[in-house]
């Protein structure tokens, strides 16, 4: 076994320092509650899971389209008529998504994909 110099001993119990314990505890509990539970493979859960997956992907694309539309509007590359048509189309898409989420009993948080360094979807 490799020999190394002994490391400096430290106290066994970690310390927690904060002047805002209640706020942090509340936020960390909220994050923990949002974590998915163990996978349940009954038919209803599979259907719900598939709907969630599909709607999450649609939501991702929808939000990308919105951002792209805003960039194009800011860039001056669209006529007022095009801005209006694009805005109406995206508005209807947002409304349709709201309907679909409602049909499957999903909230925005259910589709809030964590994109790692980019942050969350919503």
């Amino acid at each position: 076994m490799a020999q190394h110099s002994p490391e400096a001993p430290i106290p066994v119990e970690p310390e927690i320092e904060t002047a805002h314990a209640a706020e942090f505890a509340g936020e960390l509990r909220r994050v923990a509650d949002a974590l998915p539970e163990r996978i349940n493979v009954d038919a209803r859960s599979v259907e719900q899971g598939l709907a969630k997956l599909v709607l999450t992907l649609i939501e991702l694309v929808r939000r990308l389209l919105e951002k792209q539309a805003v960039r194009r509007m800011e860039g001056g590359g669209l006529t007022p008529k095009q801005v209006e048509e694009l805005g109406l189309a995206l508005m209807k898409l947002e409304e349709k998504m709201r309907e679909l989420k409602g049909q499957f009993g999903l909230e925005d948080e259910d589709l809030n994909l964590d994109l790692g360094p980019i942050g969350k979807l919503i």
Binding site: A2, H4, V12, E27, V31, G87
Partner: protein
Amino acid sequence: MSLYVYCLGDGLTEAALAGVRGLNDEPARLFGHAGLVAVVSPFGEAPVPVTRAHLLAHNRVNAQALASATPLPFRFGTLTTEERLASYMGARAAGLRAALARVRDCVEMSVKLMRETTAEAPAAPPADAGTAPAGTAFLLAKRRELLGEERERRRAEELAAWLERRTSDLARESEVRVRPSESIVVRAAHLVVRARLADYRERLRALRAERPDLRFLNSGPWPPYSFADADVTASGCE
């Protein structure tokens, strides 16, 4: 009977673990192979129920190990057999030694930052918002939303950069996550040399005084979860 695995190291001794009880009050012991040692205890059921008692036991054993030598901690709930653990330790010995060298003589300290919630005045809609047709008004509202999100992201990134500047001389390595859309906007893990722990804690006290607009949650020392790769399950040992 499976083995519950807590951590792995090359400087751990039976004396350092004397008396510590793990999950289900089983005594923790060392399992040696390929010049490395894993801290284990017997565990009957799979999967490991996530209970307060089990989480505290997992932490208790790892904290005991950390007190004398920095181990590579395993995720909570790691179960395996002696054969699979030996196979894992043998096959990955070189990589595990490199990982141990990376964290040697260090501990992980955690910093979480939350901004004070202040009621910011919402961005004023543009002058023509009331007269714009529906589609255009929709895009103008989205633009305001995006500008707000970008502003929050910049602020969160500036905060992370400030924390990095003020701790980089005391942290061997850092792992930082920025989450502008959440209450806890910055989550940082610092790998701190044991001998500098008091200096690090003093620095954090100074940072708290420097930024009364922020809420700090500091904790540690922890085993280096954020800087370890000791994933037995990935190798098929579970």
